[in-house]
Structure formats: C-alpha cells, structure tokens
Symmetry: C2
Subunit: 389 residues, 2 copies
Amino acid sequence: MQEELLILIDLTLVLLFAKGLEELMAHLKQPPILGDLLAGILIGPTILGLIRVTHNVAVIGWLGVVILIFLAGLETEIEELKRYGREAIIVALGGVVATFSFALAVSYFLGHPWLTSLFIAVILAPTSVSVTVATLMDLGLLRSRLGEVIVGAAVADDVYAMVLFAIVSSIISYGSIHLETLSHIVLGLTIILSAFILISRKSNIIVEKLVRHSHLTGSLHIYILIIGLVLATLSSYFGLSPLVGAYFAGLALGGIARSRHLREFYGFLVSLISPFFFVYAGILLDPWSIISSLELSSVFTVVVLIVAAGILGKVLGCGIAAKLVGLDTRSSMAIGVGMMPRAGVDLVIAVVGLTTGVLTMDLYFSALVLIYATSLSTPILLKVILGHK
Amino acid sequence: MQEELLILIDLTLVLLFAKGLEELMAHLKQPPILGDLLAGILIGPTILGLIRVTHNVAVIGWLGVVILIFLAGLETEIEELKRYGREAIIVALGGVVATFSFALAVSYFLGHPWLTSLFIAVILAPTSVSVTVATLMDLGLLRSRLGEVIVGAAVADDVYAMVLFAIVSSIISYGSIHLETLSHIVLGLTIILSAFILISRKSNIIVEKLVRHSHLTGSLHIYILIIGLVLATLSSYFGLSPLVGAYFAGLALGGIARSRHLREFYGFLVSLISPFFFVYAGILLDPWSIISSLELSSVFTVVVLIVAAGILGKVLGCGIAAKLVGLDTRSSMAIGVGMMPRAGVDLVIAVVGLTTGVLTMDLYFSALVLIYATSLSTPILLKVILGHK
C-alpha cells in the first residue's frame, strides 16, 4: 500500500476511536484522556492490533504532547496559589514527598535498579485533579477553602513534578551520576533556568517585535508556539526531556498569552492532536509481553504495590499535610483523596520512560492501572466523605 | 539519539525555516507556500541535508495537506461563480483543456509513458491565483469584471482539476485501463460522488445530532474534520487519491461550516501544519539524482518544454476563451496571464505523483520551476498589461 494511505488510515483510525471513547468517558464524567488511552489499548497490540505503523501515531503524538505540556505551562495560574498559597504549597509537597518515597521504596524492594526506581517515583508524583474538580463542582464545594487548596496544590504539584522530572531525566540521559556527568546535568538545568528567566522578562518585547514585523496572518499564535518548540528541542539537546523545556517555556510566556482567543486556538489544537499521544500511550502497552516473561502472581504483586504506593502517598502525604496546616479531619481526608487521581503529566512521563527503555512493561502497566483506579474511585470516595456534611 | 528527540528536532527545524522564508515571501508579495517549498529545498538533500528522518515530516505533512485540501473545498464559494459564472466556467475550461493537451503532447514527445504523461498533464492543469488577486487588488481591479472572472475561473478550475485528478489517480492506481479495472474505477468514482451527494444533503442533520449529543467542548470543529478524514481515507481505499475525498467532503460541508470562527480555527491549523507538506515537497526534490542520470542539456529541454506548456496553455487557453465570451483584448490578455500562476493543488498532485513513482524527478523539477517562474513573473506582466489603462 502507498505510504500516504497507510499514514491516513492510521491517523483516521486513531481520531475516530479516540473521540468515540472520549465521548463515552465524558458521559461517565471521567477525563477524556482515559478514553484516548482506552482507544490505544483497544486498537493497539493488546486487543485489536489495527495500527500498522505505530511510528506514524508517535510523530503526531510527540508534537501533540509537547504542545499540550506547553499549554499546561501557559495555563498555570500562579494566582491560584495566592489565597491559600501556603496551605496549597505544603499540601502538594506532602503528597509529592510521600508518594516519591513510597514508590522508590516499593520499586527498590521489587528489585529494580535504582534509576528505574527513581523514574517510577517521578511518574507517581504528579496529580491530575480534573475528576476532583468536577466532583467538587457537583457538590458545590469548588469555591470552598477545601476546593481552593486542592486547585492550588495541583498547580504547585505540576511545578514540583516538572522540577523532579527535569533532574531525573537529566540523570537518566547520562546513565549515572559521576562528577563529570553531574556538571553536564547542572549545565542543562542552568540553561533551561536561564532561558526561563530570559523569556519571562523579555518575551513581551521579543514577541511584540516579531509580530509587528511579521507579514503573515495569525503569526502571534505560531511564534509563541515556535518559542515553546525551540526551548523543548534545546532542553532535549542538553539531556533534559523536551517536555521540561516546553513546560517552562509555557510558564514563562503565560503573561503574554492571556488572551481568551489565543487559548481557545491552542485548546482546539490540543484537543485535535494530543489524543494521538495518549492513544500512542495505549498502543505502547503490551500486556502479552509481560505475561510471557513474568509469572502472573509476580505481575499482580508489582501492580498492587505500585498502585498502593501511588494512592497511599497522596492520601497520607496530602492528608497529613492538610491537617498540619489547620484543616479539619474531614477536609483533610477529602484533600488526600482529591489529590489521588492521575492521567496527565504522569502518563506523559511514563511514556518517556518506556520509550527510552528505563521503565519496564510491568511498571508501565501498573502506572496505567493506577490511572484508571484513582480516576474511577475518586468521585465515589469524595462523595462518601463530603456528601453528608 | 532518542526517537522523540529526532522527531522534535526535525519538526522544529521545519517550522523555523518555513516561517522564516514565509515571512520573506510575504514581504516580496509572493505566496507563503513558495517560502515553505524553498525551506524544504534548503534543508533537504538539495542544499543542506539537515533533515534526518524525512518520514517524520511526511506524516504531519500528509495530515496537513488533507486538512488543507479539505479546507480548500470548504472555502470554495460557489457564489463566486454567480455574477460572471458563464464567462468564468468557459475561461477555466479553455485553460484546463489547452494546458492539459499541451502538457500531454510535450510529455509524449519527450518519450514518457502515457500514464506519466497523463499525470504531468493533470499537474499542470490547476491554477492558484493568490498572486494575481494581490496584484489586482494593488491595481484596484479586483472588483472589476476582469477580476471577478479570474476569481470565478479559479473556483471552477479547482473543481475541474479535482475531477481530472480523481479520474487519473484512479487509472494510475490500477496501472492501466482494461474492462475489469474500468469497472473498479467507475465504482470508486461512484462511491465518492454518492458520499458527496449524501453529505451535501444530510450533513446538517448528522452534524447537528453529533454535536447535540456530544459531551466534549469544541466537538463541532473536530467532527467536521473527522468527516473529511474519513472520506479521504475512503476514497484512498477505492483507488482514488485521499485528496479527492477530502476536497469533495469539504465542498459538501461548506454549507454548515460558514461560521467565521470555525474557519479561523481551521486557518490557524492549516498555517501551522500545512507548511510541513510543502517543506516535504521541497525535501523530495533531489536535483543531484537528475544530473547523475540525465545529461544537462536534456534536463534543460524537459524544463523549457514543460514550463512553456504550462504557461502557454493558460495564456492561450484562458485568453482565447475570454475573448470568445466577449472580453476586450487587453482584458483577455490579462486573464490569460492572471491564470498562469501555480503553487497550490498542482504541487500537491506533483508530490503524489513523485511518491507513488509515476512522476520522474526531471518532471517534478520542471513543475517546481513552473511554480516559481509563473509566480514571480505574473505580477510584473499584469502591471505591464494593465498598468497604463
């Protein structure tokens, strides 16, 4: 068959299944991303095996996820942290520290090398609170202290996760820490940090100049995006994941990309091309390869331990931190549960781990189980905890 | 290097060079597409050889061009044909028939097999009047009879070209015409025609239902696009080029996609991803392979004859047709010259020809020379003809 026909069939299949299952998930009040992932599991090797050239999906997927993470940076509202900033920052920190430690310990206990353990620990660290936000909205509690702490903590959480990911991805790209590689890592981090500061301060002037001298229509949209892509590629060059560069570029450009119009455009773009990434994440799952190489009982142990680390880390870490900063017990429990769900940055980091060979298939599988388990249980648990207040 | 880094470097390079050279072309009042093409020639094997995995550019390029052609269909304003419809339809027909015949004769004379000759004839048939429109706007003649005939003829021209392309791509996918393959071709054309009629009539109801039951934001944009992609893939399955399906899907959906908002979105999307296709078109050019296989003098002959066929076909075909429907000599000359420029559907069809192996590199090179030659000379010639009226 001709190259372009193969490409088109793959891409059309991905979009059809992704949007169909996104609709289903949205109907079930679950995040659309779970639909994309399910679409990938369905059309990938796990079940139907319909995709002929996975690389075709990967190309658009990588572009899509860089733009998605860039947009996540762009949309990070540091203001969300203002009202209950101290509480939110501490709650997020509690969750990240606890989850990271639990996951590291569990993975080490399971006999994984320490780089792999570091990586799964980073995967488990971030949160994705869209299910929580929807549930709190249903309960009329989104604008309560509890709600605002969770929303603020999610913002802080993203930043912690990205900093952790920057450090760990940098370590992994050099394989181990020696004095020499340490200097490379520090150099990479310094360059991204400098670019971040430079763009934060000068982006207004640079972008304005670019647009004023531009002869193209819609050039503002494109140039802002290109800055993100360039910083992503740059961070990749210096041994960090491209996503780190994309995120911090977005964070730095947030100020000039405040217009609703611009964000609507990016939102549309992301809803069109980011499914390719999450479908790709589903296609990458190959449970048959785990079963052929490991015993079923040991796969079960891995999944249970990783999922437990992911859940307990957030529930205990965030819950105890919330209690410490002065929230009542019921609210603290709700915050712990509300910070549980995944299905965002965690999945992106997991795909990076799997494709670079740091992560094993059983750990990847566990991360996906954690995503579905937390996303499906959080609304129910939150309603139990908060329902009869 | 890691897969995702390679992908990102290639994609970022493409966007940077494409937008830089698009700016240059826009500054020179030339269509941006010439900048994309030049970017591809620059970073491809012709000069710098920077792109490591051409396939990465091709994947997004094919998606981009399907959306571009879909959008071209969507934006086809049949109303443009109303005022001077009869004139426009005849002028376009004159140009297409003359160019097609000249190109077929020249290619046959050069010793190419008749399928290749058919293909280069289809490539030379369409027009792309953006330079003409810009020039007429400068001269204040866009809303004159002359201007309206050209704009209307360009619309008719696109439809003729797509019908020709549908027939020829269908013949080529079966290699030759026998009674049996003829029935397949007729079947393919019938299916696309039926889908076109069905969508034209029922799309309102279908899309409205989809959107009403949708739980996703911005689903209208995505679903309309998916209909285009599905029809593109379908037409590809039945031996026609996917672009034929995309174009007619767009044409059929034009009615429900009238909103400025929706088109702005698609316009942005196209300005972001269609450069990948035209850069890819530039990367595909490999003049060194021509020089190593053919003598320089014979390459020169091919280029001169093809460019002459492409120019004379439009100037004489459209010019004489314009004269016949009652325009004065000066206007008829201007119409002939104004219909000369390429750099649109023609380039897309040329890439299809090259990647499917029907087109030889020397003919592809000639098509690119024709694009630059006509686009650069049209504004000057138009001003000479019309300037001192």
